[in-house]
Symmetry: C2
Subunit: 248 residues, 2 copies
DNA sequence: GGTCGCAAACTTGCATACTAGTTTTCTACA
DNA sequence: TGTAGAAAACTAGTATGCAAGTTTGCGACC
């Protein structure tokens, strides 16, 4: 396909399907990230069939790196491969969302309690202030606010030396991220969320673990309030696979 | 299983390196599991270089399924691939263990508190009793005890409808499992552990979330007490990283 | 004997060809 | 026109070959 091999001047030069020059040979990792972004941003809608050949053509590579990328996304529950039949974008699973919600609540509680117990450095607390300021500034831009929101939560994980916890949990986070993307426009008033962030920070500053836990729980229950509403509004994207009747 | 399809009396029949007949053509998933087991059981020691070609020969396939299997293990942090240089079994990372420990504590606390809050069915409580009995019976057999220990913890996750939480977190669990395998023989007296299990169960039965949380914390701090001792005893398997990368 | 350098023997990454299975389409026949 | 059936056009899974880079080891030269 697209590149001369021995005439070294053009080594590694590739062209997209529109003839435009494409800089680098996207390897497995970058292909996986690109596809992942498309799925989370719902550019690839649940139920859609994607073809290894199509993707290979799109990225200007052979099927091999694409396959390896897809394999990782299977582990993250974002796609499902039916042998000899096709590769499909999975529907958002309410069960998965519930699980991710439980996981996130448990972790955030542990992180903020731990932070409140052992205390954070003045620098960390200052950085948290700054991030909240950024959130105020980003009030009108949902995507920018989301980034600042992520930064806020990650900051406290960093503060107790667990900075890479969330990166390691990309897998479960993926379940969440699609829902979060859906709820980008129509959420709880951002004022409310910022106020909750302030309460969480204050609890950590005053070294009050119980208050920190309470603040986190309030915050997350707010964030997750929208989930079921979204499920009703987007039945084409979400599958209601909640089976268990919860408890006696 | 391996039966001829057209005339091929030997179609699909494969032989291991010792000439023994091997039933099925191991596909990506089973290859990944097999390698994973070997790593966790320390048959493949940290720092060892494994070759895609070797593994392909061992499983009687080409490099392709092996590569795809290894890719999954990279995500689990069990192996590291240095392009053009080799594929290595990672050392047990104290950082990773600490992270996994934090994660597990946070989750178990959340699970048992939740179970204590909403209560479990009589059947579940009975099953928990049975598992504890099994643990008593398995006192002399570490591996059997470990299985019963897993079952105990999983039971409560099931009880609150979060049964698949840990299967989803295989990734992080892997960090733990190698340590746990190391500590199989020489742990805390099993009596102590069983007593702690009883305390946890009792707290759930009496619907006392705070007591449940306390019991879980005591239990896990006991389990993790051995970690650092193990690190000193097995410097060849464990790397004391608090920010350093691994190298062979 | 010691050291530098090149070549051969590795390694993984990627592309391609082929296999087996499924779906779709088109044709032949009623 | 309607339907059955075969063939063609897909799918993913696997094997293989080549490319690019690293390590190793041997040999020539000092």
């Amino acid at each position: 396909m697209g590149s001369g091999s021995r005439l070294g001047k053009f080594d590694g030069i590739r062209r997209g399907e529109d003839g435009q020059l494409v800089g680098a040979p996207p390897s497995t990792a970058s292909i996986r990230d690109a596809i992942r972004r498309d799925i989370i941003a719902l550019k690839l809608k649940p139920g859609t069939r994607v073809s290894e050949n199509e993707l290979a053509a799109r990225f200007g590579t052979s099927r091999t790196p694409v396959r390896e990328a897809l394999l990782g996304l299977v582990d993250q529950g974002l796609i499902a491969v039916l042998p000899q039949r096709g590769t499909y974008i999975t529907y958002i699973s309410l069960k998965g969302v519930r699980r991710a919600r439980f996981l996130r609540l448990a972790l955030e509680v542990a992180i903020f309690r731990s932070a409140a117990e052992q205390g954070l450095s003045r620098a960390m607390l200052g950085a948290a202030e700054d991030v909240i300021d950024e959130q105020v500034a980003a009030e009108a831009d949902p995507e920018r606010f989301t980034r600042a929101d992520d930064a806020f939560h990650r900051l406290f994980a960093d503060g107790i030396g667990m900075g890479d916890l969330w990166t390691v949990l990309e897998q479960e986070k993926a379940q969440f991220d699609r829902i979060r993307f859906l709820s980008l426009p129509n959420v709880t008033p951002i004022d409310t969320l910022i106020g909750q962030h302030r309460a969480m920070l204050e609890a950590v500053r005053t070294r009050d673990p119980m208050a920190a836990e309470e603040a986190v729980k309030i915050h997350l229950s707010e964030v997750l309030k929208v989930t079921f509403e979204l499920a009703e509004r987007h039945p084409d994207l979400i599958i209601d696979d909640l089976d268990a009747p919860q408890s006696p």
